[in-house]
Symmetry: C2
Subunit: 247 residues, 2 copies
DNA sequence: CTTGATTCAGTTGTAGGATGATATGTATCA
DNA sequence: TGATACATATCATCCTACAACTGAATCAAG
C-alpha cells in the first residue's frame, strides 16, 4: 500500500519529502512522543523508496532532535522538551508574526546582555565593537555590508558578556532576523529595509565605554524597539519598563 | 591515507562524526564558502567509511544549511547568510562545567518571560501552571518526579507568554540544565542536588495570578538565583538590579 | 516453580556495488 | 564560428549483504 508523497512543484529530494511527511505527523500529534516509528523496512515499502532514503530522512529528523534511534530496537519520537537541539527552519520565518516574536526574544536577550557587557567588557571588546561601529557608519552605505557590520556589532557585544551561551543564542537570533530581512527584500524589493541607525548604536557604545549597565540596557532596548518598527514590526506591549526614555 | 576520526569515549554514530569533522572544517574557515567538497567517493576513502555514511553526513550538513549539493556537480560550502536554517546543538554546548553560564542565560530569559506571562496569561495557562505547582509540592518528594514538575512549571510559564520562540529557548535551556544536574549526580551521587523550593514557586505563581509583571520578574529572578546557589553555582554579579528583595 | 544462560528473530548500522539523472566539458561537423 | 552530439564526472537512488545490538522466547538446572 504505497503512499503517495506530495509531489509538488518542488523538486525536493526524496529524503527531504519523507522527513517532511514524518515531521508533520509528529507535529500534528499523530505520532505521540514515546511511540516507536515503523521499521525502516516498513517505511521504505510504505513510501515506495529505498531503505537508504528512509535512513537519510530519519538521520535528518534525528539531527533535529525529533526522534531518537536505538540500534536493534527502533526509532522513537521524542517530546519537544527533551530535544537536544534547536532548529528554526527558514520556511518558518516568512510571516510578520514570527518576526514579531523574534524581535521580542531578541529584545529580552540583548537588553540584559548589554547590561552585562557594560560591566564586564575589556578593552579588546570595546575595540572590536568600535571597529564594527566604524564599518557601519563608514564611507559606503552598501546595504549588505552595513547589515553585516550591524550584526557583527551585536555579536561582539554578546561576546563581551563572556558568556558563550549568550553569544550563541544572540548570534542565532540575529542570523534568523537577517535572513528574514533578506527574504523580505526579495519579495518586496521596493521597500528599503536597511536598518542602520548609527545614532542608536553610538549611544549603546558610549554606555559600554562608560561601563553603565542601566544606560546600556536602556539604549539597547530602545534600539531594538526602533529597529523593529523600522522593518514594520510593532512590538506588542514591548514592556516599556524603564524605557521611558524611549526614542 | 585514511584519516582517523576522533574516536572519543562517546559512541557516536559514524555519520555524526564525519559531519562534525566537516562542520569544524567549515566553521574554522579551512573550507571557505563556495568551495567544493571532495566527492563522496574521496570522502569515503579519506575517512575509511562507506559512501552511505558520507551521504548521511552530507545530508545532515545540508539540512543544517551549511552546504548545498548539486546533482552531477558536487557539494558546495554555503556562506552563513545563505543558509536556509540554523541549529543549536546541545552537544556543542556542554564541554565543561558551565552551569554558571547556563543559569545566567536562564535568568535573563525567564525573568523577562515571567513579566510577559504576567501580562498575557490566560486562565488555561494559570491552570496548567497551578497543576505543575501541585505536582511539585505533592505528596511524594520523588526526586526525578519533582524535577520534572519543576521544569514543567517553568515551561508552562514560558508558554503563557504566547511566544513560541521564547518557549523553545527556555525549554532548551531548562533541558540542558536538567542534563547537567543529572550528569553531576552520576559523578557525585552523595551530593543531593534536588532543587525544589516550593515557596519561591508559589510567589511566582501568585504574581502571575495578580497579573503583576514587576513582581513576577522579581520573584523569578530571586528564584533562579536561589536555585543556582542551591546547586552550588554562584551567579557572578547577578546584576541584582531590582532584585533587592532577594532572599 | 524459579532462576539463569542460551538461542533466535527482529532492527538498526555499515559496507559496497549497480544503475539512473544531471551538469559540464570536449570533440566533431556544418 | 557556432551548434550539436558525445564522453565524463558527480550526485541520487536502489539493491543486497553482513555486522552489531536488543528483547524475548526457549530451555535446562536447581
Amino acid at each position: 500500500m504505497k503512499q503517495r508523497l506530495a509531489a509538488i512543484g518542488t523538486v525536493e529530494a526524496l529524503p527531504h519529502r519523507v522527513a517532511a511527511f514524518l515531521s508533520r505527523e509528529i507535529d500534528s500529534g499523530e505520532l505521540n512522543p514515546g511511540t516507536r516509528l515503523p521499521t525502516e523496512q516498513q517505511l521504505s515499502e510504505k513510501f515506495g523508496v529505498s531503505r537508504n532514503v528512509v535512513r537519510e530522512a530519519i538521520a535528518q529528523l534525528r539531527a533535529d532532535g525529533m526522534i531518537e534511534a536505538r540500534q536493534g530496537v527502533g526509532a522513537f519520537v521524542l517530546a519537544p522538551e527533551q530535544r537536544a537541539s534547536i532548529r528554526i527552519d527558514g520556511e518558518a520565518l516568512k510571516d510578520t508574526e514570527n518576526m514579531e516574536r523574534l524581535f521580542e526574544l531578541r529584545c529580552i536577550l540583548e537588553a540584559e546582555s548589554a547590561a552585562l557587557a557594560a560591566e564586564r567588557r575589556g578593552q579588546e571588546h570595546l575595540d572590536a565593537i568600535k571597529a564594527a561601529l566604524d564599518r557601519m557608519s563608514g564611507e559606503e552605505r552598501w546595504e549588505e555590508g552595513s547589515i553585516d557590520a550591524d550584526l557583527l556589532f551585536h555579536r561582539e557585544i554578546a561576546r563581551a558578556t563572556g558568556n558563550s551561551y549568550i553569544h550563541t543564542f544572540i548570534s542565532f537570533v540575529c542570523e534568523q532576523i537577517r535572513r528574514s530581512i533578506h527574504y523580505a527584500r526579495l519579495t518586496n524589493p521596493l521597500h528599503d529595509l536597511v536598518d542602520v541607525n548609527v545614532g542608536e548604536h553610538v549611544r549603546i557604545y558610549e554606555a559600554l565605554v562608560a561601563g553603565d549597565p542601566k544606560a546600556a540596557e536602556a539604549a539597547m532596548r530602545a534600539h531594538i524597539i526602533g529597529a523593529a518598527e523600522r522593518v514594520g514590526v510593532k512590538l506588542p506591549a514591548a514592556r516599556a519598563k524603564h524605557t521611558g526614555k524611549g526614542k
